[in-house]
């Protein structure tokens, strides 16, 4: 099995998407292909466990040191803010002591944090892998003929943090091209979370022009109102010029347009 196909099958297998026959065949091929025996198990445990992984809690020792450092930092800050008032109250001899204390605390924390940082780096790598895998699963599911599966894919996209460009693009492709109104509506909801990304905002404004279902047009117009997005006004004007526009929806568009201006 070529690597790409293998990965696709693996994702399907792990997502429980395979029919029993395909699963049996896959397992047979897996056994025959002399693939490292632990690999499937590794992938599986990766998918199952990573979400449940927690960052190791800092121990009491680290907390104490941190508090010492914090106190010192606070004092330093107070000194920096009002040097004239603070200096006479603090004997000069304490300053070198504080400096030494700071260095020692820093060294201790450095030693203590050393292994943690390695672990954290490994965790970050693992998380990136899982994100990549979830992205693959999501993209694969968006191509499925079943609307329920595509809804599931949009739901998965919400779990991927932060979502990469591939996910944003796939959500836009869904919003502008999915045959099912419900799937398109959930894509609007999923994209609406990225109000802070200019590209997403612009994309959603443009999307108003290509919709043919009133439910999606209304959802987009509502979003524009919530965002006070004035660039949507020309798009709403276009919608208002539609011949077959229903009376109630027309009134809603006019209301939104008036409130945007």
């Amino acid at each position: 099995m070529r690597r790409k196909i293998f990965e696709r099958r693996m994702v399907e297998y792990l997502a429980g998407e395979m029919s029993p026959a395909a699963e049996a065949d896959f397992k047979k091929r897996l056994a025959a292909a002399h693939i490292e025996p632990g690999l499937a198990a590794e992938y599986e445990s990766l998918l199952k466990n990573v979400d449940g992984l927690a960052c190791p809690e800092p121990g009491p020792q680290m907390r104490r040191k941190f508090e010492i450092l914090l106190d010192q930092a606070k004092r330093e800050a107070a000194l920096a803010e009002s040097p004239r008032a603070a200096v006479p109250r603090r004997p000069l001899a304490l300053r070198p002591a504080a400096a030494v204390g700071l260095v020692l605390a820093g060294a201790a924390i450095g030693i203590f944090l050393g292994p943690l940082t390695t672990e954290r780096r490994a965790l970050t790598g693992l998380r990136a892998e899982v994100r990549e895998m979830k992205t693959s699963v999501m993209l694969m599911m968006l191509d499925k003929p079943s609307a329920s599966e595509r809804l599931k894919a949009v739901a998965i996209s919400r779990e991927i943090q932060p979502p990469g460009d591939r996910i944003i693009e796939a959500l836009f492709a869904t919003l502008n091209g999915d045959p099912n109104v419900n799937v398109r509506l959930t894509a609007v909801e999923a994209l609406a979370r990225f109000a802070d990304r200019p590209r997403v905002r612009a994309g959603l404004v443009e999307a108003m022009a290509v919709q043919d279902a009133a439910a999606v047009e209304l959802a987009l117009a509502d979003l524009m109102l919530a965002w006070r997005e004035k660039r949507a006004v020309p798009q709403i004007d276009k919608l208002l010029r539609k011949d077959d526009l229903d009376g109630g929806i027309k009134r809603r568009f006019e209301e939104i347009r008036a409130r945007l201006l």
């Binding site: 809804l151 419900n182 439910a215």
Partner: protein
């Protein structure tokens, strides 16, 4: 006894309605190679209703009925009191491939009502545009149904559903839901009335721009700050808001979306 004539009239009307549909204009029986494996029914209809009923049969039976030519509502007074016996061809076809049965018609402008019997475990992908409603009864599977201008009604169904209509009403009574399957129900103008088993685990997100939202699930609604005060109705509670309301049934699960622009939303327990 004063009501007796009223009942007679009702029975007469019901019989009259049925009489017009007694003999199908066309009928096709599609046998399935592996009925135990379930299957999928695909109908993209243009004009008329679709009714799908699950049965113990192992074949798919499709019947097409011409509608309205002799009925008084159709405005053909010359046909009153007569029976429809022939018309243009219905163009009814049913093709089976790998468990998927695709039904098409070419009614040349006629309104054709389709009545389909399927094995109980069957998925459905149905749509109609004009002049009809879509009814499904006693079927278990994945249901994707769009009726642009009419009602959608699901009775005693199991599985999952993704339904949408523009100005029709949606009614769905689930006896069982597929765990892990998201669902969605949207209507622009119609009300949405869905019932799920009391133990269904799902996260329901609901929004009606101009309507009210009712539930007898005793749910804990995570209502956003803009919530308006709702009304209380006997045997249930009412929530109202212009924002999305999220409710976790039995701890939550896959997302179920209920969205209407103008209609009320009723989320109830299957009785």
């Amino acid at each position: 006894m004063r009501r007796f004539p009223y009942w007679i009239a009702l029975l007469g009307a019901a019989f009259g309605g049925l009489a017009g549909q007694e003999i199908p204009a066309d009928r096709i029986v599609v046998s399935l190679a592996r009925p135990d494996r379930g299957g999928t029914l695909i109908i993209q209809h243009d004009k008329g209703s679709i009714s799908v009923v699950g049965s113990e049969a192992s074949a798919v039976t499709v019947e097409a009925f011409r509608r309205g030519l002799s009925s008084p509502e159709a405005g053909d007074p010359d046909a009153r009191g007569m029976k429809l016996i022939a018309g243009p061809p219905t163009g009814l076809r049913a093709v089976e491939a790998d468990g998927t049965v695709t039904v098409t018609t070419d009614g040349r402008g006629q309104t054709l009502d389709l009545v389909v019997k399927v094995p109980r475990d069957f998925s459905l992908k149905l749509s109609t545009v004009h002049n009809g409603r879509i009814d499904v009864e006693n079927v278990s599977g994945e249901m994707e149904i769009t009726n642009s201008n009419g009602d959608i009604r699901l009775e005693k169904v199991a599985g999952s559903a993704v339904l949408s209509t523009f100005d029709g009403r949606i009614t769905a009574r689930f006896v069982e839901v597929t765990p892990g399957a998201p669902m969605a129900f949207t209507s622009v103008y119609g009300r949405i009335d869905v019932a799920f088993p009391a133990d269904a685990r799902m996260t329901v997100r609901m929004k009606s721009d101009n309507g009210l939202i009712y539930s007898d699930f005793g749910l804990k609604a995570e209502v956003p700050q803009t919530r308006r005060k709702g009304l209380t109705v006997p045997g249930g509670q009412s929530l109202s808001s212009r924002d999305w309301i999220t409710a976790r049934l039995n701890g939550g699960g896959p997302e179920t979306l209920l969205k209407s622009f103008d209609g009320n939303i009723y989320l109830r327990k299957t009785k």
